[in-house]
């Protein structure tokens, strides 16, 4: 057994890898310097802006190198169904209406002017370009649109924002010269250092850069076009006359790389008509070999595309210019590697990109000087109450999870009960030695909490008619007696008290189930001081409230732990989970005068974790289903034993009263 010292040694060995504090300090100083500039509303210094401005000032000619195409409106039956599902991830949208950020149902406008391209940086800001080859700007602080700084003056073309080698780089091209002698050059602007670096020439009068991305090692990858586009690593591009390209010339557009995956769009070219049609999203490995092709449900006359691959390469946003050249249409392709699970979701006639680290909806309060915010349901209806990370939470009937307390109410123990009013959540708080310290009531409407005068009381279950609460207490004298007490659910006055036994012999009460008529309960106890090597098992008791007595029931199942529901489903039939030999079985306990028998229904799937049975809980819902909590997640369970997870990371939970 690892004692204190041995556990410390094992944990120390686990985490004892080297930590390069000197490098971390250098990185921190660089970040800190940048953020100071951002807060001050600074970006590019005047001198640097002039330096960029004098580079070139020639209108973008990229369109001239692309082939105008007309979509043939061909058969799109093979395109997966478009789903307008819930979008929980943060997405950046941009276009004639400006820039907005969406996450689920929430939307926030962060820039009002028309925008042709926008990319999140990796520090919570956005780099974007105004329409008509306008200036490239950096909006570092989303809450302060007037604080943008200029990355490049009008005339440049924004291609990407890439984080590599600890730098945050904005890549843009500019043209210099006139007519046939014009050339295009790729520049990098460092957001951290506010310096511009000339990277490489990327085209002549009829050629140019379409997209730029970076390999995992930081090497740039360029897609350059002259009629068709060719993808090169930067190293090979220097030698493009003889070197092998990463992706040979084709009718492709857009490019992004993430998680050792390349994504781009390929069109079909019809020589007779000179048109490109049928955009297909191509997913390739880093050698350029195609892994998947996903037909896209859009048409485009221009043949261009912007591609944004999410960090884990599971999702791609593709934006394609609309027919007629006005605006773009974007789709989100999810599960790109999973043919069966793949879906395509329309994002509308806007440009779009993944929000990256942008999270304007998150509470930004982590310092001790800033109290953590809490929420409240107001008039919204509570469906579930649950405990998570030391705080009391509620989930509304429309699925929103709201943290009601800031965690100072120690919600680390006890199962919450939702009282008959539908908004009062009560739960017990236990100290480290298992003694119930106090009972806390939280009003989900306004998030307020108060302590009830019930010190030493462990709440167990709400009666079927919601008027009473079964709870447990111990007498104070030596050789404490374990008691089942019944409280009025409105006044919290004690209305019944039934001694179960001496604590050292029967152990504490684990769970209580009300019978249908509310006149009796089934109670389980487990002695917490089982001799070493002995199998812990629950003892079952029938508690008769009018008779004020408890009778132990014979189970015929040694070594079994019972997770009984909070109430009977029928007269003397109580739904229960049986935990025996490490397996959980869903069924019913039938209670007779002096014994119980278990009618098993079905084993439960593995996702329900019974390894820590002290966290398992079972309660009834109104719709014939049951609520199961395993200390990590909250599940709904139907009569056939099918589990459906409804809340993740919920320590303990319950639903509002149902009858």
């Amino acid at each position: 057994m690892p004692g204190t010292d041995e556990l410390a040694d094992r944990l120390g060995a686990l985490v004892g890898g080297p930590v390069d504090a000197e490098s971390a300090y250098a990185r921190l100083m660089r970040r800190h310097r940048l953020r100071r500039l951002r807060r001050a509303g600074l970006g590019l210094t005047a001198a640097a802006a002039v330096a960029v401005g004098v580079l070139v000032a020639v209108p973008d000619e990229r369109d001239s190198k692309r082939v105008d195409v007309v979509d043939d409106g061909g058969d799109r039956d093979e395109v997966p169904a478009v789903a307008q599902g819930e979008r929980s991830r943060t997405i950046l949208r941009f276009g004639s209406q400006g820039i907005s950020i969406t996450s689920g149902d929430r939307e926030m406008s962060v820039w009002p002017g028309a925008v042709s391209a926008a990319f999140p940086d990796h520090m919570g800001g956005i780099v974007f370009q105004e329409v008509d080859a306008g200036p490239i700007r950096w909006l570092a602080d989303l809450s302060n649109p007037s604080g943008t700084s200029t990355v490049a003056p009008p005339g440049a073309l924004l291609h990407a924002v890439i984080e590599r080698d600890g730098q945050e780089e904005v890549f843009f091209t500019r043209r210099s010269g006139e007519g046939e002698s014009s050339t295009e050059t790729l520049f990098s602007y460092s957001l951290l250092d506010q310096t511009v670096t000339e990277m490489v020439d990327t085209g002549g009068s009829e050629s140019g850069l379409d997209a730029v991305a970076a390999m995992p090692d930081g090497q740039l990858v360029l897609s350059t076009c002259h009629l068709q586009c060719t993808v090169w690593t930067q190293e090979k591009y220097q030698d493009f006359a003889t070197a092998e390209p990463l992706i040979p010339p084709d009718w492709i557009a857009g490019l992004d790389i993430a998680a050792e995956t390349i994504a781009y769009v390929r069109y079909t070219f019809t020589p007779d008509s000179g048109t490109t049609t049928d955009p297909v999203l191509v997913i390739a490995d880093l050698s350029g070999e195609t892994l998947h092709e996903v037909p896209l449900p859009m048409t485009s006359e221009s043949g261009g595309a912007m591609v944004d691959l999410d960090g884990d390469a599971q999702r791609v946003i593709v934006s394609i210019p609309n027919d007629g050249g006005s605006g773009v249409t974007s789709v989100l392709v999810d599960n790109v590697f999973d043919v069966e699970g793949r879906s395509i979701e329309t994002l509308g006639e806007v440009g779009a990109a993944f929000g990256g680290s942008i999270d304007p909806f998150a509470a930004d309060c982590t310092t001790p000087d800033c109290p953590a915010p809490t929420g409240a349901l107001g008039d919204r209806e509570l469906e579930y109450a649950f405990l998570r990370d030391g705080a009391t939470w509620a989930r509304t009937t429309d699925g929103e999870e709201v943290r009601l307390t800031d965690g100072t109410v120690e919600a680390s123990d006890g199962f919450p009960l939702v009282l008959a009013d539908g908004h009062t959540i009560v739960h017990s708080v236990a100290s480290f030695d298992g003694v119930f310290d106090r009972v806390v009531a939280t009003d989900a409407r306004d998030g307020s909490s108060r302590e009830l005068p019930l010190a030493g009381t462990g709440l167990l279950a709400l009666s079927p008619d919601t008027t009473r609460i079964a709870a447990t207490r111990y007498t104070d004298e030596s050789g404490a007696t374990v008691e089942l007490v019944v409280l009025d659910s409105t006044t919290f006055a004690e209305v019944a008290n039934v001694p179960i036994g001496v604590e050292d012999e029967v152990g504490p009460i684990q769970r209580a189930a009300w019978n249908g008529d509310g006149a009796s309960l089934l109670v389980t106890t487990r002695c917490c001081y089982a001799p070493e090597g002995a199998t812990q098992a629950d003892r079952l008791w029938s508690v008769d409230l009018p008779g004020n007595s408890a009778t132990e029931l014979q189970t015929g199942s040694e070594g079994t732990i019972w997770i009984v529901a909070d109430r009977a489903s029928d007269e003397n039939t109580i739904p229960a989970l049986q935990l025996a030999d490490g397996s959980l079985t869903w069924g019913s306990l039938r209670v007779a005068a002096t014994s119980v028998t278990f009618d098993p229904c079905c084993p439960l799937p593995n996702e329900l974790d019974g390894s820590m049975d002290g966290y398992l809980d079972l309660s009834e819902r109104a719709d014939g289903r049951w609520l199961v909590s395993d200390g990590r997640n909250l599940f709904e369970l139907d009569t056939a034993g099918t589990l459906r997870r409804v809340i993740e990371h919920a320590t303990n939970a319950s639903s509002r009263p149902t009858r």
Partner: protein
């Protein structure tokens, strides 16, 4: 702007904080969380440097962030994946894998209490300051955390009489 005192504090506290956070949020996120906390300290240095223990302040910030990270990730498996993909599997140390898996079952408060006590060497009172809770609550987290670890590592739990040795 930060001064030499800040640099000295950083170089002294950062490695320890990262090691503690490795147990709480996993090896991948530990340095990020620690860096974020020190960046906040840097911004507030003019004020916090006058505090008696700026190191406690930054640890408190880091733990708040760690809770947030954990809450966002929600899946304990993500923490485990970080470990198993890194040290544990590389070294093929079965006992480490068991320990990582067991740690993954702890709540974030339990994990923090165990990390701060057994890796950082802090007392229950000090941990209570960092976690912003009562000393008794820290003992609760420690007891339950160690109890879970003991069960999952197939060892009987030890009784926690006093968490403090720091």
């Amino acid at each position: 702007m930060a001064d030499e005192g800040f640099q000295e504090l950083f170089l002294r506290e950062y490695p320890n904080l990262v090691r503690e956070l490795r147990l709480i949020v996993g090896p991948e996120a530990a340095e990020d969380v620690a860096s974020d906390a020190f960046e906040q300290l840097c911004r507030s240095w003019a004020k916090v440097s006058r505090y008696e223990r700026p190191g406690a302040w930054v640890r408190m910030v880091a733990l708040r962030t760690a809770t947030k990270v954990r809450r966002r990730s929600r899946k304990r498996s993500e923490v485990e994946v970080g470990w198993t993909a890194g040290r544990a599997v590389d070294r093929q140390v079965d006992s480490n894998i068991d320990l990582v898996n067991a740690l993954g079952t702890l709540s974030v408060q339990q994990r923090a209490a165990v990390a701060l006590h057994h890796v950082g060497g802090y007392s229950a009172r000090e941990i209570g300051e960092f976690l912003e809770c009562e000393e008794a609550t820290v003992r609760t987290h420690l007891f339950r955390g160690r109890q879970k670890l003991a069960v999952l590592l197939r060892d009987p739990p030890e009784e926690v009489v006093d968490a403090g040795h720091g």
